[in-house]
């Protein structure tokens, strides 16, 4: 069964964001990694790239298919999770511990449009 971690904000396209001050850690939900199956490649943006809420910033690839990553917020990429370059399967092991990008939020009010764990769980069922 998929896990739904409390305290995070979720998007309908199955990304989560963990907010710490003016930064947010963005990844894919446990439900999403489960649906994808074995992750074999993560296509990440570069540090200093701009991301926009609702727009694609990379992709997660399973053996069979590529799924776009959609940013839940707008901002600037300040860090990428380099461990995923060589070990993409970390997303299958623990999707919440292994965020994909760290973003400096440009419009924290965008967070209000995202779901809490309870609401997100409802759309997954």
């Amino acid at each position: 069964m998929a896990k739904f971690e409390e305290g995070l904000r979720y998007s309908e396209s199955h990304e989560y964001i963990r907010v710490e001050g003016e930064y947010g850690y963005i990844g894919i939900s446990d439900y999403a990694q489960h649906a994808l199956g074995n992750v074999v490649y993560v296509d990440m943006p570069e540090v200093d790239d701009e991301v926009t809420a609702g727009e694609e910033f990379g992709a997660v690839e399973s053996v069979k298919a590529a799924s776009d990553l959609i940013s839940p917020v707008s901002g600037t990429v300040v860090e990428i999770n380099e461990a995923l370059e060589d070990t993409p399967e970390l997303l299958n092991e623990d999707a919440f511990a292994n965020w994909i990008i760290k973003v400096k939020l440009s419009d924290p009010s965008e967070l209000d449009k995202l779901m809490d764990a309870e609401a997100y769980k409802t759309i997954c069922n």
Partner: protein, 359 residues
């Protein structure tokens, strides 16, 4: 509305991810593609391939008819021999790729792709004029299992009780009402067993319950066939892709007196083709997928990916691609556009892992 095979309920009960393929609702994976892939490479897996189509051709002109519609040469073949080849349009484009089983003198069993069944049967009927043959479309009568992997021989003999040890690669025999052949689509040793729906269901249950054979979905069937360079109709062969373009000329016998499409292939051999199928190996781990553009150093599109994966048996991102012929030489540097980025690769042989057939 997709058709179901006779094993549909069993796939659902096993929790398979089901998806449409070739007009059928088929299992893509039971657990995950990677584990199923390695089960076939290292041990044994069973596939439900009952979606494949079957046509039986009999009658006084059966051999002459098959020679007319099929690119390979079956003249003088021993009973039990199997041939791979294509049916072609007169312009050399591919109607389908198929197996022809010689079951007896003037008695042939043709195995065709699920997605092409209606088109193929129509094609065969249209070109049967002037031949004294009986053409029986039997797809709905047969279930088909593919037992594949280095342990396949032992599993088929011990779990199913079907003697198959003496069957040579690409030969077939009849066992009761079954047709058994040493064939497959994985690059491993293995067998394909055509039987009634009832037999197929019982054999499937025995294989799964034995614990010696992993249920495998079409997901790994594609990764397995891809990395040993086997073509899939719709990707590497199509009405626009001839066997010469796809590098499959060895299955087209131009020394045969005639077959549909022969003149077009002779012309392609003599004058060359504009595009060829190649393998491309990327330096990065990014994964090329069907339809992604292939670019030259100047950034002009010179081709398109037909199938691509991060190869599971060798840790590399590779693809097959149809490219302009002047970019098809080995070691040519090419680029593949993957979403917004462009990745460098080079042309390699379109076989990324060696086959392990038992001949």
């Amino acid at each position: 509305m997709e058709k179901k095979t006779c094993l549909y309920d069993r796939h659902v009960a096993l929790g398979a991810l089901m998806s449409p393929f070739g007009g059928f609702i088929m299992p893509i994976q039971y657990t995950n593609i990677t584990d199923e892939h390695h089960a076939v490479r290292n041990d044994c897996g069973v596939f439900d391939v009952s979606h494949m189509g079957e046509v039986r051709i009999t009658g006084p002109d059966a051999e002459r008819y098959v020679q007319h519609i099929f690119t390979n040469d079956i003249a003088g073949a021993p009973v039990g021999q199997i041939y791979y080849g294509m049916m072609l349009y007169p312009n050399g484009g591919t109607v389908d790729d198929l197996l022809v089983y010689k079951m007896g003198e003037n008695d042939f069993f043709l195995v065709i792709n699920a997605a092409n069944i209606d088109k193929d049967v129509d094609w065969m009927k249209q070109h049967a004029t002037g031949f004294n043959i009986n053409l029986e479309h039997q797809s709905d009568q047969y279930g088909q299992l593919a037992v594949q992997g280095p342990q396949a021989e032992t599993v088929v003999e011990e779990v199913l009780g079907i003697p198959c040890r003496e069957l040579k690669f690409y030969t077939t025999k009849v066992v009761g009402d079954l047709i058994v052949s040493r064939t497959g689509y994985t690059g491993e040793d293995g067998f394909e067993i055509y039987g009634t729906h009832q037999f197929t269901q019982q054999a499937w249950d025995k294989l799964i319950q034995s614990g010696r054979c992993k249920p495998c979905g079409l997901g790994c069937r594609d990764t397995l066939r891809f990395e040993v360079g086997l073509p899939l109709y719709g990707d590497e062969l199509s009405a626009d892709i001839s066997p010469v373009m796809a590098g499959l000329s060895m299955f087209c016998k131009l020394d045969k007196p005639e077959f549909i499409g022969k003149e077009a292939l002779e012309e392609q051999k003599a004058n060359g083709v504009e595009q060829k199928l190649v393998g491309i190996e990327l330096t990065d781990k990014a994964i090329p997928r069907h339809g992604y553009p292939v670019l030259n150093a100047e950034g002009e599109q010179v081709g398109e990916v037909t199938t691509g994966y991060h190869c599971l048996s060798v840790d590399k991102s590779v693809c097959m691609a149809l490219v302009k012929t002047n970019y098809a030489k080995l070691d040519t540097t090419l680029y593949i556009q993957i979403r917004k980025k462009v990745f460098e690769g080079k042309v390699v042989k379109k076989k990324f892992y060696d086959k392990h057939y038992k001949k």
